[in-house]
Amino acid sequence: MEALLFYLVALVAVLSAFFVTKCRNPVNSALCLVTTFLCLAVYYVMLDAPFMAAIQIMVYAGAIMVLIVFVIMLLNIGSVGKSVYRHGLIWATGLGFLLFLIAAKFIAGGSVTKQVGTVTAQVVEDYGHTELIGKAMFTEFLLPFEIASILLLVAIVGAVILSKRKV
């Protein structure tokens, strides 16, 4: 059952991912990408990370993709019909494939360590995923969290500066 679901979603994810690179129209690519994101969200749920799934949908599918589509519309280069691909398609395919081979090699050939933490599906059940995240975030990873805030600040300021029309 789970396996079936996995492969099904995987198929969708891969296909939509491929169409991201394939579609002539950026908007279509964007929509495909959203699809991929949703597939990933499904996986997150399957992996007992509902909170992440939620964020995935809200932040990615929601915020980021909306922003992108917004920009696409803004610049209204919706369907510029020039050739979509550059030359060197074969090279790119080859490289991508090689990359995958290598990755596969060190995934298949390599070995992840056994369980080190205490968080199991049961634990998630008991505490609730959000609380676990929050706890980790505000104890162990407090500093990165703060840095992230700075990062966002910088991004905002930068975006503002760059997109202002005149000084």
Binding site: I102, A103, K105, F106, I107, G109, G110, S111, V112, T113, V116, G117, G134, K135, F138, T139, E140, F141, L142, L143, P144, I147, A148, I150, L151, L153, V154, A155, V157, G158, V160, I161, L162, S163, K164, V167
Partner: protein, 486 residues
């Protein structure tokens, strides 16, 4: 819920992040200040940011020799970090000093420029002091994102846009690889703490053969190598350096590069120490490749800014030699070299800043013909920096190179050292050529537009002082560099 707050608080140690903390506070304050200043008035922000840097400098010096760890081991403020922090601060300081008049000349008097530099510096500091890949990664991102902005800062200039975009895309692209590496390492070690990974790998019997470890290490390195500008991940460097505003180019070539080295060294020498043979073999090749490509391509450049970009690639190569050596001398060599490089390279760019006209600060060799006679001070200054970049005594460039090559030779990498010196022999040519034009050609223009802006001159003077002092009496600083390695 209050117990959560307690748990949160006990792991907090503000000592450990004090420098970056100070910088960020100043940064935010300055953002507000620049909002309330009327249009086109940036000088106060500039000076305040210099003050900020000085204060931060004092703070970080205060942390010397008393290592502070904190935030559940995600950051540590040891001598290593402090040495680099000082380097970043100097880089930022020199940059800011040369920036203000430049921004006005180019018509972008935007106050947010300075806070961004401060945030960049803070990000660099997190990279240098982060002991958790998460911290390092986020530091790197803060650094990168603000650099994307700064590189594309002249939004009206196509060159600047292009620089920003190229930097952005390639940066993001490399981030992807880096993250993949982190993920793999996380997979094999179950943690993202530098020390934890080290233990895990050390505990692993087949670490050297486990593809996931090696792959993770390699992929992780790529992120850093990209920022360092090591071949074959160097290709963004010339374009971005050429297109970005000159002070930013100066800053990029010194600060972020140093930051990348800092993080790279910490990760490599702590987490991946057990993989020395593989890693230094990798670095050997990269070092040779990098310095050779940088030097060779630089020869055929006529645009001085772009030439310096290539030269900075080759210098990254020299620094990598120190990584190959994999011994204390080599490490502290890199620390020292980064400091030296900050002085000499930013100094050189500062001269270029003064040399440029509005809108066209990419001057070609012919653009400096006979320049040395018209503006003796700038001429001499540029000569000093170029000699230092060549690595000629009695300048700092020589002592720095000596330090690094000493490390390599001590470790027995004779050929590497030979290749290195032969490379710097090649580099002589294009550095000398600048002087050829500056002094051996007759002036075609009177360089009337060149004004000796006070702040910029100050930064040049500081750089000269640094270059000469580190060249003649490098002892004390070398000693510090020695005390800074783990």
């Amino acid at each position: 819920m209050e117990n959560l707050a307690q748990i949160a608080m006990e792991s907090v140690n503000f000592q450990a992040i004090m420098p970056s903390l100070v910088l960020c506070c100043f940064g935010m304050v300055l953002l507000l200040v620049s909002v309330f200043l009327e249009r086109g008035r940036t000088a106060p922000v500039a000076w305040l940011s210099v003050v900020a840097l000085i204060i931060t400098g004092l703070v970080s010096i205060g942390a010397w020799n008393e290592p502070q760890a904190g935030f559940a081991g995600s950051v540590v403020l040891d001598n290593f970090a402090t040495f680099f922090n000082i380097t970043f601060l100097i880089a930022a300081g020199l940059t800011i000093l040369m920036s203000d008049s430049y921004l006005h000349r180019e018509g972008y008097p935007v106050g947010e420029y300075y806070p961004l530099i401060l945030f960049t510096t803070a990000g660099a500091m997190w990279m240098a002091s982060g002991t958790d890949l998460m911290t390092i990664f986020l530091g790197l991102e803060v650094l990168s994102v603000s650099l994307y902005v700064l590189a594309g800062f002249f939004r009206g200039q196509l060159r600047s846009n292009e620089a920003g975009l190229k930097y952005f895309f390639l940066g993001a692209f490399s981030t992807g690889f880096m993250l993949y590496g982190v993920a793999l390492l996380y997979g094999v070690s179950g943690t993202t703490k530098v020390a934890g990974i080290a233990q895990a790998i050390a505990a692993m019997p087949d670490a050297a053969t486990n593809p996931m470890v090696i792959g993770g290490a390699a992929m992780l390195s790529i992120g850093f190598l990209f920022k360092i500008g090591a071949a074959p991940f160097h290709m963004w460097t010339p374009d971005v350096y050429q297109g970005a505003p000159t002070p930013i180019t100066a800053f990029m070539s010194a600060g972020p590069k140093a930051a990348a080295f800092a993080a790279f060294m910490r990760v490599t020498y702590i987490s991946l120490d057990s993989m020395q043979t593989d890693m230094s073999a990798l670095f050997w090749i990269l070092a040779v490749l990098t310095m050779t490509i940088g030097n060779f391509i630089a020869i055929s450049q006529r645009d001085i800014k772009r030439m310096l970009a290539y030269s900075s690639i080759s210098h990254a190569g020299y620094a990598l030699v120190g990584m190959v050596a994999w011994n204390a001398v080599g490490f502290s060599g890199i620390l020292f070299y980064m400091l030296v490089y900050t002085f000499m390279n930013i100094g050189a760019f500062a001269v270029l800043v003064l040399l440029g006209k509005k809108g066209e600060d990419n001057l070609t060799l012919d653009g400096v013909a006979g320049f040395g006679y018209k503006r003796p001070f700038l001429g001499v200054a540029l000569c000093i920096f170029l000699f230092s970049l060549m690595g000629l005594p009695p300048t700092a460039g020589f002592t720095g190179k000596f330090f690094i090559f000493a490390g390599a030779i001590k470790a027995g990498y004779i050929w590497l050292a030979v290749i290195g010196v032969l490379n710097s022999a090649v580099s002589l040519y294009y550095y000398l050529r600048v002087m050829v034009y500056m002094y051996f050609r007759d002036p075609v223009e009177d360089y009337s537009w060149v004004k000796l802006e006070m702040a910029t001159v100050v930064s040049i003077l500081i750089a000269i002082a640094g270059v000469l002092i580190l060249g003649v009496l490098p002892g004390p600083v070398m000693e510090l560099a020695k005390l800074s390695v783990f």
